[in-house]
C-alpha cells in the first residue's frame, strides 16, 4: 500500500506512516522575528524563556506560521522531517518540501502549489469526493481535531507567564496519544502517538507572526488550473510533465526530486540508523 504524506497532516490511529521527505530547510523558517522553543522541549520542562514572550505579544492564532519537527521512530530506525504550517484567516498552508506545498480553505477548497513551475491546481470539494479523499478541516487547521482532543483525558496544565500548555493523554485506536496543547496558538506544542516500538512525534520548534504581505507573497503569481480540467490539458507542458511524474507522488516512494528522479524510501539522507 502507498500513502502520500504530501498532505497527511497527522495520521492518528495510523501506524504505518510512510517516511516523509524533506530535502531542504523551509524557506521562511529563519526570520529574525521568529521564536525558538527548541531548547525547551521535554514536557514539564518548559522554561519561561524570554523568547516565548513574543508568542504572547506578536502571534495571533489566525495569522501565524508554526514549524514542527516531525520524527518517526520504528525500533532503532528514526525518520525526521520538518513541517511548516502557516495559518492566515481562512487558509492553512502545509509546506514539507521545496517541490510543492498545499493550501486548504475553510470552504473545503484545496490548492496544490508547484513553486518551481509557478503553477497551481485547485480542487473543490466534489473533486476530492470524486477521488475518494476525505478530510477533517478542523484537523487541517489545528493538526489535532477537537474531536480527538475530547477523547483524551486532561492532565495538569502547564502555566507560563504567557503560554498555557494543556496536557492530554489517552488511547485512541490502540495507540498511546500524548498531547501538549498550546491554547493561545490553537495548536499542539507537542504531540506523540505510539504503539510498541513505533512512535510519531510532532514538536513545535518555532512560531512567528504572518502578515498579509507574507501570506500574499507565498501564494500569488501562480497560474492556476482546475483539477477537473487537468485531463483535457495534456498539451500544456506543465500538465504533460505532471502526467509523466504523477504530480511528484506516484511510484513506490511517491517522491521525486525537482528533475524527476525518484527518491527511494530507503537510504535517504534524512534517515538515521
Amino acid at each position: 500500500m502507498k500513502y502520500s504524506l504530501l498532505s497527511a497532516a497527522l495520521l492518528v490511529g495510523f501506524v504505518q506512516v510512510v517516511s516523509a521527505h524533506s530535502t531542504s530547510v523551509l524557506s521562511t523558517s529563519e526570520q529574525s522575528t521568529s521564536v525558538s522553543a527548541e531548547q525547551a522541549q521535554q514536557p514539564r520542562s518548559i522554561e519561561p524563556a524570554t523568547k516565548l514572550e513574543l508568542v504572547c505579544t506578536g502571534v495571533m492564532p489566525h495569522q501565524l506560521s508554526a514549524t514542527y519537527e516531525v520524527s518517526q521512530t520504528r525500533g532503532v530506525h528514526v525518520t525526521k522531517h520538518q513541517l511548516q504550517l502557516t495559518r492566515y484567516q481562512d487558509t492553512a498552508i502545509y509546506q514539507r518540501s521545496p517541490q510543492s506545498f498545499e493550501a486548504w480553505q475553510h470552504n473545503g477548497e484545496y490548492v496544490r502549489y508547484f513553486p518551481m513551475d509557478k503553477r497551481s491546481v485547485s480542487y473543490r470539494p466534489s473533486d476530492l469526493l470524486s477521488l475518494n479523499i476525505s478530510y477533517d478541516l478542523e484537523q487541517v487547521f489545528h493538526l489535532v481535531s477537537p474531536q480527538i482532543r475530547s477523547k483524551l483525558k486532561q492532565a495538569d496544565n502547564i502555566q507560563h507567564t504567557c503560554l498555557t500548555v494543556e496536557s492530554f493523554r489517552g488511547e485512541l485506536k490502540g495507540q498511546e496519544v500524548s498531547l501538549q496543547w498550546a491554547t493561545s496558538l490553537d495548536l499542539p506544542y507537542q504531540l506523540t502517538i505510539g504503539q510498541g516500538d513505533q512512535q510519531l512525534t510532532y514538536q513545535l520548534a518555532e512560531v512567528k507572526p504572518v502578515t498579509q504581505a507574507d501570506f500574499k507573497a507565498l501564494t500569488t503569481g501562480y497560474k492556476d488550473i482546475d483539477f477537473a480540467d487537468v485531463g483535457d490539458s495534456e498539451s500544456d507542458p506543465f500538465i504533460a510533465k505532471m502526467i509523466t511524474q504523477g504530480f511528484i507522488q506516484h511510484g513506490s516512494s511517491g517522491f521525486y526530486t525537482s528533475d524527476g528522479q525518484q527518491i527511494t524510501g530507503n537510504g535517504h539522507s534524512s534517515h538515521s540508523h
Binding site: 500500500m1 497527511a8 469526493l129 477521488l131 479523499i133 476525505s134 485531463g231 507522488q249
Partner: protein, 531 residues
C-alpha cells in the same frame, strides 16, 4: 433472477388455446419444432421489429422546424451501457434490460471521432466537426485545420460557420447549455472561433493573441451579432464573465482583466433579457416574457449531478430543468430553434477515474433527453444524442445477471447459478466489473476515516475485499499510471429521431452530424435567403 424474464407464456395474451406440449409454456414444444410458441424475449424482439417497420421516414429537406443536439462529453458506448445498468439497478431491477431515454430513439449510427491531427480526439476538434461540418485540429474551436493551435496570426480566413450562427441568421432562436463552463470547448465551439480552447477569458489570452486581435471566448459570446443573438446560454463559467475585482455571490472572484462585467452587458444588450446565477432565480424566470436568458450557476464548471445542491447561492438547476426552461423560451419562435445541450462533466469524472459520478451524470443526461422528448414532437423536431469521444472505461469479467455494476464481480457457478463468492484474479483477489485502462488508479483510502487524506496515484491491483466499491467515492483501478485518465479513440453512438433522423446510419465521420442537421433544417439555404 433471469428466470422470471424468460418464462412467460404468451398464450393468454395471444388468445391461443393452451394445450399439449406445443410450446405455449415458453419452450419450443416437446418436439422442439413449434417456433411460433415463444417466450418473452421472442415477443419483445418481434415487437421492436414491428415498431421499426412502422417508422415513417421524412426525407424532405427542411422538414425539421427544430433541432436539438445533445452531447454527452466523453460518453462512449461503454459509459452508455454501464449507465443504463446503473439506472435500472437504482430502480430496483436487474439493470441490463433497462433503456436510457435516448436508447429508445429509432435511429442509430456510429461516429468516427478522430481529429485532423489526432487519432484520439479532444472536445474542441470533435465539437467543431459536429457544429460546422468540418473536422479540425485538437484544441481548435470552429476554425479549419489551417490554423496553428494557440497562434492567433494563423487564423486569418479560417473561421467556420456554425449551425447556431446559421440558425440565428435564418431567424430561428438558438440556445447553448452545458453543465461545464459555457466557455469550455464543447459549448464554445457553437458560438466562438478560437485557435486555442483555453482562451476562455481575456486573462487567458497570450500577448500574441492580443496583438493580432483575437478575442477571448466569453467576449465572443457577448459580441455575437447574428440574427437576434443567442437566446439562451446556461451553465457554469461565471468567472470568465466578471472582472477579477468582482466577487460573485458564492464568494469567488472573476478572472477578467479588462474590467468588463459581461453579465450586466448581457442584460443591457438585449430587451426582455435576464441573468440568473442560482436555481431559485432560475425557477423564477418566466419563459413567456424572457427572450434572452443567461444563466451562470457556478464560477467554474457546475457540480456533478451527484453532488448538486438546489438551494441558496450555490443552488444549481439540473440539466433536465435547464433543458425544459430553454425549450419553453425558444419554442415561442415560429421559425423554430436550434438548441445544443452538453452533459459536460461525464468527461471530468472519468478523467478522475470515478465511474459513479460519470454514470450519474449520464443518467442526468438521459433525464434531460426525456424532457426534450416530452416537450417536442418527432413530427417537427430532429433530436440527436451523441458524444464527442469515448474514455478508456471498460465493463469486464463475467458478472452474473443483475450484479451491481459498480460492484465486485460475482460470476456464475458451473450450473449457471449466481456464485456466492467473489470471482478472483490469478492472485486470489476480487476485482470490479468497471475499470480503466489508465489513470490515477485506486484511491488508497479504503475505509475513509477523516484523519486521512492524500492524493496518491496508485495503478495496478489492490485488495478490495473490505472496500465498498459501490460508494460514489470509489476510485476504480487502472493499469497504466497517469495523473489523469484519458479519452479513448473508438467510435461513439449517434441516437436520433424526427425528420432527417434516418440519415444517421452506418459508421460516419463525426462532421456528418452537421450535414444531417443542415439537411433536416435547411440551415444554409434559409440563412442565405435571409441575408
Amino acid at each position: 433472477m433471469n428466470k422470471k424474464l424468460l418464462v412467460l407464456s404468451m398464450a393468454a395474451t395471444l388468445g391461443l388455446a393452451a394445450c399439449g406440449n406445443d410450446g405455449d409454456n415458453g419452450s419450443n414444444g416437446s418436439d422442439g419444432k413449434d417456433w411460433t410458441a415463444v417466450n418473452q424475449w421472442y415477443v419483445d424482439g418481434q415487437k421492436r421489429v414491428t415498431q421499426a417497420a412502422d417508422i415513417s421516414i421524412n426525407n424532405q429537406a427542411g422538414a425539421a422546424k427544430n433541432i436539438i443536439l445533445f452531447v454527452g462529453d466523453g460518453m462512449g458506448v461503454s459509459t452508455v451501457t454501464a449507465a443504463r445498468i446503473l439506472d435500472g439497478q437504482l430502480k430496483g431491477n436487474t439493470g441490463e434490460e433497462n433503456s436510457l431515454s435516448f436508447e429508445t430513439l429509432p435511429h442509430l449510427g456510429l461516429a468516427k471521432t478522430y481529429n485532423v491531427n489526432g487519432q484520439t480526439p479532444d472536445s474542441a476538434g470533435t465539437m467543431t466537426a459536429m457544429v460546422t461540418g468540418v473536422k479540425t485540429d485538437v484544441g481548435v474551436l470552429s476554425q479549419a485545420e489551417g490554423v496553428t493551435r494557440g497562434n492567433c496570426a494563423s487564423t486569418q480566413g479560417q473561421d467556420l460557420m456554425t449551425s447556431i450562427e446559421l440558425a440565428s441568421i435564418a431567424g430561428m432562436s438558438t440556445g447553448v447549455i452545458s453543465t461545464a463552463r459555457v466557455t469550455h470547448a464543447t459549448p464554445a465551439a457553437a458560438y466562438a472561433h478560437s485557435p486555442e480552447r483555453d482562451w476562455e477569458s481575456d486573462a487567458d489570452l497570450t500577448a500574441e493573441a492580443v496583438t493580432n486581435g483575437c478575442k477571448d471566448i466569453a467576449a465572443q459570446l457577448l459580441d455575437y451579432s447574428y440574427g437576434s443573438g443567442i437566446n439562451v446560454v446556461m451553465g457554469g463559467g461565471r468567472r470568465a464573465f466578471i472582472p477579477n475585482t468582482m466577487t460573485d455571490p458564492e464568494g469567488k472572484n472573476g478572472k477578467r482583466l479588462d474590467g468588463r462585467d459581461l453579465t450586466s452587458e448581457w442584460t443591457a444588450k438585449y430587451t426582455n433579457s435576464a441573468y440568473v446565477a442560482d436555481r431559485d432565480s432560475f425557477l423564477a424566470l418566466d419563459p413567456t416574457t424572457t427572450d434572452h436568458a443567461l444563466g451562470l450557476f457556478n464560477s467554474s464548471h457546475m457540480e456533478y449531478d451527484y453532488d448538486r445542491i438546489t438551494d441558496g447561492a450555490a443552488g444549481e438547476p439540473s440539466l433536465a430543468e435547464m433543458t425544459a426552461k430553454s425549450i419553453d423560451i425558444l419554442k415561442k419562435n415560429d421559425k423554430g430553434f436550434v438548441l445544443i445541450i452538453e452533459a459536460g462533466r461525464i468527461d471530468h469524472a472519468h478523467h478522475a477515474g470515478n465511474a459513479a459520478r460519470a454514470l450519474h451524470d449520464t443518467i442526468a443526461l438521459s433525464e434531460a433527453v426525456r424532457v426534450a422528448m416530452e416537450k417536442t414532437s418527432t413530427k417537427d423536431t430532429l433530436l440527436m444524442v451523441t458524444a464527442d469521444h469515448s474514455h478508456v472505461f471498460t465493463i469486464a469479467g463475467y458478472p452474473t445477471r443483475g450484479n451491481p455494476i459498480l460492484g465486485l464481480v460475482k460470476g456464475n457457478d458451473s450450473s449457471g447459478i449466481s456464485a456466492v463468492t467473489n470471482s478472483t484474479d490469478a492472485n486470489g483477489m476480487p476485482y470490479t466489473t468497471v475499470g480503466y485502462t489508465n489513470g490515477r488508479g485506486y484511491a488508497a483510502l479504503d475505509n475513509g476515516g477523516d484523519e486521512r487524506y492524500g492524493l496518491p496515484i496508485a495503478a495496478g491491483r489492490f485488495d478490495l475485499n473490505y472496500v465498498d466499491t459501490q460508494s460514489a467515492g470509489f476510485h476504480q483501478e487502472a493499469l497504466v499510471p497517469l495523473e489523469s485518465e484519458t479519452h479513448a479513440g473508438e467510435d461513439v453512438g449517434i441516437f436520433a429521431s424526427g425528420p432527417g433522423a434516418h440519415l444517421v446510419q452506418g459508421t460516419v465521420e463525426q462532421n456528418h452530424i452537421f450535414h444531417v442537421i443542415n439537411h433536416a433544417a435547411n440551415l444554409v439555404i434559409k440563412a442565405e435567403a435571409a441575408l
